[in-house]
């Protein structure tokens, strides 16, 4: 049977990592097709509930990436993101989600090659970890119950 | 008023004048100095040149003894001992693990409840407040206050006076009617560490500072450290050799100066022990310009 292809969502900021990913393209650097990008103005905008939402909808892994510290287009956004991430990782760790399924990075607009590297390594790690179903099932069962109660 | 007292080897041995003058001055101001029972040598430079733990253990035992004897404030006239003890006190306070090791080595507990006073801090706290009414004979001489290295350094640990151009000893002299000159070698090292093994160097280092003191018309050099004293007093031949001039400038302990001012006899301050005879010529009491002079030497903020 074919090798397991993880689904990975990348939450990136518009000014550094999105542009960095554009550079990966313009430099024609090849990388795994498993990652799909969602663009935000700033990592500071990323509500970490979105990550749970992604898991609930069957994501096997997640990448969060923004500007390097002190390079944030909005001065502090990436620091707020980092702070939130510190707390969030404890939470999901507690919740039993393997924190290796989430990779938190700084990729600047100049680091096209680095973006490819981040994607590939993340894909590999997640592939090793295998498909992530637990959270999805839990979430689904909850939805079902809700549906029932609505009926 | 009882205070702990750590004489250190020099005050017991080579520098009786320092011990005597300190005791007699203290007595005049109603302070009883209680010697730490069965104290040992602090190890001085030798110990910390040879081994770190040793250099902390020796002072460690002293502090432990003082604490055990309930002496929470101890006067340490010898600048070298003062420096060693204070540094040890600091390091043991900083590092609990280290404190454990040391107490096992010395076989005694130390909780770190001992406060250490150098001679000037002692004078400042217990003598100066009442000194003016006790002065019977103004110490009216131009003198060079020599602090040496160990009284003010390491500054971040000792936190005593200012590192550059200190003033506390000058202040004591001023209070007893003396005139501390402004000179350049207040905190330069006299080379005591090499007193015996490299007398030539001592002659040079001490010589340099003595030249400056003489050139600026000092009648005496005031010290607060037996090392400095024995160097400048006993090593005079080596010093004169370096300066190649015969200088008879006396080297006087700050406590001796205070002693004289409050009317102690030359014997009571122990001048008989000096190698270089102390001859201070009487001077007509001039208006005390000192205070202004000292103030001038202070850095002045510009608007």
């Amino acid at each position: 049977m074919a090798e397991f292809e993880p689904k990975i969502v990348a939450f990136v900021c518009n000014w550094c990592t999105y542009a960095g990913a554009d550079l990966t393209g313009t430099s024609r650097i090849k990388y795994a097709a498993n990652v799909k990008i969602i663009r935000f103005p700033c990592t500071g905008r990323i509500d970490f509930m979105l990550l749970l939402k992604a898991f609930a909808n069957g994501a096997d892994g997640i990448i969060v990436s923004g500007c390097h510290p002190n390079d944030c287009h909005y001065t502090y956004g990436n620091f707020h993101a980092r702070r939130r991430w510190m707390i969030f990782r404890k939470l999901i760790d507690f919740a039993g989600i393997d924190i290796n399924r989430i990779s938190f990075n700084w990729v600047s607009a100049a680091e096209g090659a680095r973006w490819a590297e981040v994607v590939n390594t993340t894909v590999e790690t997640v592939r090793k970890l295998g498909p992530y179903e637990n959270y999805k099932q839990v979430a689904l069962s909850i939805y079902d119950q809700e549906d029932k109660t609505h009926e | 008023m009882k205070l702990g007292f750590y004489p250190g080897c020099s005050l017991k041995g080579g520098s009786p004048e320092y011990r005597i003058s300190t005791f007699n001055v203290a007595e005049k101001f109603g302070v009883e100095l209680v010697e730490i029972p069965d104290w040992n040598c602090c190890g001085a430079t030798a110990a910390h040149n040879m081994d770190k733990e040793l250099s902390l253990s020796l002072p460690g035992r002293i502090l432990a003894l003082a604490e055990a004897a309930g002496l929470n404030e101890i006067v340490v006239p010898c600048a070298a001992c003062y420096s060693r003890l204070t540094v040890t006190n600091h390091e043991l306070a900083e590092d609990t693990q280290l404190r454990e090791n040391i107490s096992t080595i010395i076989g005694m507990k130390y909780e770190g409840n001992v406060k250490i006073l150098n001679i000037i801090q002692f004078l400042d706290k217990y003598v100066l407040p009442h000194v003016e009414e006790k002065v019977v004979k103004k110490f009216n001489h131009d003198v060079a206050c020599y602090y040496g290295c160990l009284l003010v350094r390491p500054h971040n640990i000792l936190k005593f006076d200012r590192e550059e151009n200190p003033q506390t000893m000058d202040n004591v002299i001023t209070k007893i009617g003396g005139n501390p000159i402004d000179w350049a070698f207040k905190t330069e090292c006299c080379g005591a560490g090499l007193s015996v093994s490299r007398t030539d160097l001592v002659g040079k280092l001490s010589g340099k500072l003595m030249i400056d003191a003489l050139d600026r018309g000092a009648e005496a050099i005031i010290v607060a450290c037996p090392m400095c004293h024995s160097n400048l007093d006993m090593r005079r031949s080596a010093i004169n050799k370096y300066m190649n001039r015969e200088s008879e400038i006396p080297v006087i302990y700050i406590t001796q100066a205070v002693g004289l001012a409050i009317g102690l006899s030359e014997k009571e301050v122990g001048f008989q022990y000096h190698m270089v005879k102390v001859k201070l010529k009487e001077k007509p009491i001039t208006e005390n310009l000192v205070v202004k002079k000292v103030v001038q030497t202070e850095p002045t903020e510009e608007k």
Partner: protein, 666 residues
């Protein structure tokens, strides 16, 4: 049911080489809400854009997705096209299937699959896009320049010459700043006064510039284009309209022994004084701390002698409100205070001076008319020791940075000294010579080669005075640390350049951020060097970091251009992608619970408190209000908001959650 139009671009071969564009278009056309899905060779070409415009009309589309290159490339192009096609431009989104797909993956099904996912995601997003109108903010076309040094003067003149009104605020009685204290300037050695004073006069006479000297900023309200500044005009005890600047009062004032700040304490001035002869404005002020009348209650001689009766002892400070559209900060720098170098006896020995004091000694208009005389006894020094890095690059003293200008002005000082005292010897103790700049290295070489300055590589340990000489104990590290002892007549310290007193205070008043050394911080170290992170407030000169004259002037002109750019339109147009606090009908008004956590994280001070009052005017609820003029749309507040009552237009929760789901559920 929405009507979305999807346009898949081949980008020549760039996309179609690895992505099956027809398949993408075809698959997407099956999605609910997609009214039209097609592919085309070059969407960005004129015909391509025309297709979109016509499709909008023909199918009256309510949303457009262009699947092509990166939005960072062509989003403006296609949004403009949509607008021309009669569709609100914010209803157009791009799906990046080139940089993020066709260019980075081989020709495989998986690549086409990915492209489809990307497009589908954007379709789902655009369904939830709302038509937005770009924000318009009125602009007050008047600038305020704070600080009248060379940077402030340059900025003010540039803006004024561009035809805009400028208000200049100067803390001291005269403008001119530190540059007016300098004798000559490196690397050309032309006279500082000669090149500066004409500019100072120009400022005073310029029809577009209002100069308010002896004044300081009290507080700031408002936002870019609409600032309201409270300014305290300190009382000069003088009616400036009546005063003719004849200067009679200053000659008659009995209290003449006050250390002159302009001369760095090397000269004296009376209690009623003009800081220096070329001062602008050239009218005196009374120094209340030292005036006999203010301190002792009698004298008033200046009042008696004044021919026009301009003296006003009872004159109070005056607070004025000034409305401006932009602010340029040029408050400059200061040098370290004397008590900083006990080992060098600075402040203790008269003949240990700082660089600015040496400038005054060398200046033709200085206390010695340009003859180098040492302060203690007025003798002409035969040996002068210059000590570089006095305080700079000295973490132990709390200054880790290099003050940058010292290497150059020290070389200049050595030269000036040698030019004035031919038989004298200048020595310079240095650690490194940092002479990066046009004609700078050449200048330093001249000081060494032609003017025979002794450069000694090493730091000085101590300086002490002995029979009228200053003994400098240094070392030559290029000779294995050989000790160097110099009997100098004068010692000049290149003291570290530091932030002005009150810089921190001012920064807080203006909500401008500053670094650990109290220097004002630029918005971006490389790409926004003259902007602050508060929109509409700009920086120039040494208030940002130690700078030399050319750098300060360049920065000032840069800041001026930014201001003029801002003033080019009557209104500021800004992308409407900003955060908003949701509103509900009474009695709820909003989900906002008024915790104001958002306020603490907003880098732009854009979040204000809004009070909801009933008819009787009593406050029912306090809500967060986001000022559209200030918000830059980073969305940090949105992610932080506990009550989920803030949302970011263009990236609403609804939109991003949909994206996540669309991306994963095919």
């Amino acid at each position: 049911m929405s009507k979305i139009g999807v346009f898949v671009c081949h980008c020549g071969e760039n996309i179609s080489a690895t992505v099956d564009c027809e398949k993408v278009a075809e698959t997407i056309s099956k999605l609910p809400g997609v009214a039209l899905s097609m592919d085309y060779k070059y969407m960005c070409s004129d015909p391509g854009q025309t297709i979109i415009k016509e499709a909008i009309k023909e199918h009256n589309l309510d949303g457009v997705v262009v699947a092509a290159c990166s939005p960072r490339m062509h989003e403006p192009t296609f949004r403009k096209a949509c607008a021309e096609g009669g569709l609100n431009q914010y209803l157009c989104e791009m799906a990046n299937i080139r940089e993020h797909c066709s260019w980075v993956h081989p020709r495989e099904n998986s690549t086409t699959e990915k492209a489809i996912d990307i497009v589908r995601t954007m379709v789902e997003k655009v369904k939830r896009n709302a038509p937005l109108e770009s924000i318009k903010v009125p602009v007050t076309k008047k600038a305020m320049v704070i600080g009248g040094g060379v940077a402030g003067i340059q900025a003010a003149l540039d803006i004024a010459n561009a035809g805009h009104k400028v208000v200049m605020i100067e803390r001291d009685p005269s403008i001119g700043g530190h540059m007016s204290q300098l004798s000559e300037t490196f690397p050309t050695l032309d006279c500082s006064q000669c090149i500066l004073t004409p500019r100072m006069v120009e400022v005073a006479q310029h029809p577009n510039i209002t100069l308010i000297s002896y004044a300081e900023v009290e507080s700031l309200e408002g936002f870019i284009g609409n600032f309201k500044v409270k300014v305290r005009k300190k009382s000069k005890s003088l009616d400036e309209k009546l005063c003719t600047g004849c200067g009679l009062c200053t000659t008659k004032c009995p209290n003449k022994k006050i250390p002159n700040e302009f001369e760095r304490g090397l000269g004296f001035r009376p209690a009623i004084y003009v800081p220096f002869p070329q001062a602008v404005p050239n009218k005196p002020v009374i120094d209340k701390k030292n005036c006999t009348y203010y301190t002792k209650g009698k004298c008033r001689i200046c009042e008696k002698v004044c021919p026009t009766g301009a003296i006003r002892f009872d004159q109070p400070d005056e607070i004025v409100d000034i409305e401006v559209g932009a602010i340029v900060l040029c408050t400059g720098f200061d040098v370290k205070k004397p008590d900083f170098f006990p080992e060098y006896g600075y402040g203790k020995y008269k003949d240990v001076i700082d660089g600015l004091q040496f400038e005054r000694l060398a200046s033709a208009s200085g206390p010695t008319q340009g003859v180098i005389r040492r302060p203690s006894d007025g003798e002409i020094p035969k040996k002068v020791v210059f000590i570089a890095c006095a305080g700079s690059r000295d973490p132990a003293k709390g200054i880790e940075y290099c003050s940058k200008i010292c290497c150059m002005y020290t070389a200049k000082h050595a030269m000036l000294y040698k030019h004035k005292v031919h038989e004298g010897t200048p020595y310079v103790f240095y650690m490194d010579i940092r002479a990066g700049g046009k004609m700078y290295e050449e200048f330093v070489r001249r000081a060494i080669v032609e003017d025979e300055t002794q450069y000694i590589r090493g730091r000085v340990s101590t300086v002490y005075e002995k029979n009228g000489k200053l003994i400098v104990k240094g070392v030559d590290t290029l000779m294995n640390g050989r000790l160097v002892e110099i009997e100098a007549d004068l010692v000049v310290l290149a003291t570290a350049g530091v932030a002005n007193d009150g810089a921190e205070d001012l920064a807080q008043k203006l909500h401008v951020s500053y670094d650990s050394y109290k220097f004002f911080a630029e918005a971006h170290p490389k790409l926004k060097p003259v902007e602050t992170n508060t929109a509409g407030i700009f920086l120039a000169g040494a208030c940002q970091a130690p700078k030399d004259i050319p750098e300060s002037v360049a920065a000032a002109s840069g800041a001026a251009v930014k201001v003029c750019g801002l003033f080019a339109n009557n209104e500021l147009t800004r992308e409407p992608l900003i955060a908003i606090v949701n509103r509900e009908a009474p009695p709820l008004y909003s989900n906002c619970v008024g915790c104001f956590m958002c306020q603490t994280v907003c880098p732009y001070q854009a979040i204000e408190r809004e009070e909801v009052k009933d008819r009787s005017g009593k406050v029912i609820k306090t809500l967060a209000y986001i000022n559209p003029g200030l918000c830059q749309g980073c969305g940090t507040c949105v992610a932080l908001c506990r009550s989920k009552s803030i949302d970011l237009l263009g990236y609403t929760n609804d939109q991003v959650y949909t994206e996540v789901m669309a991306l994963l559920n095919d």
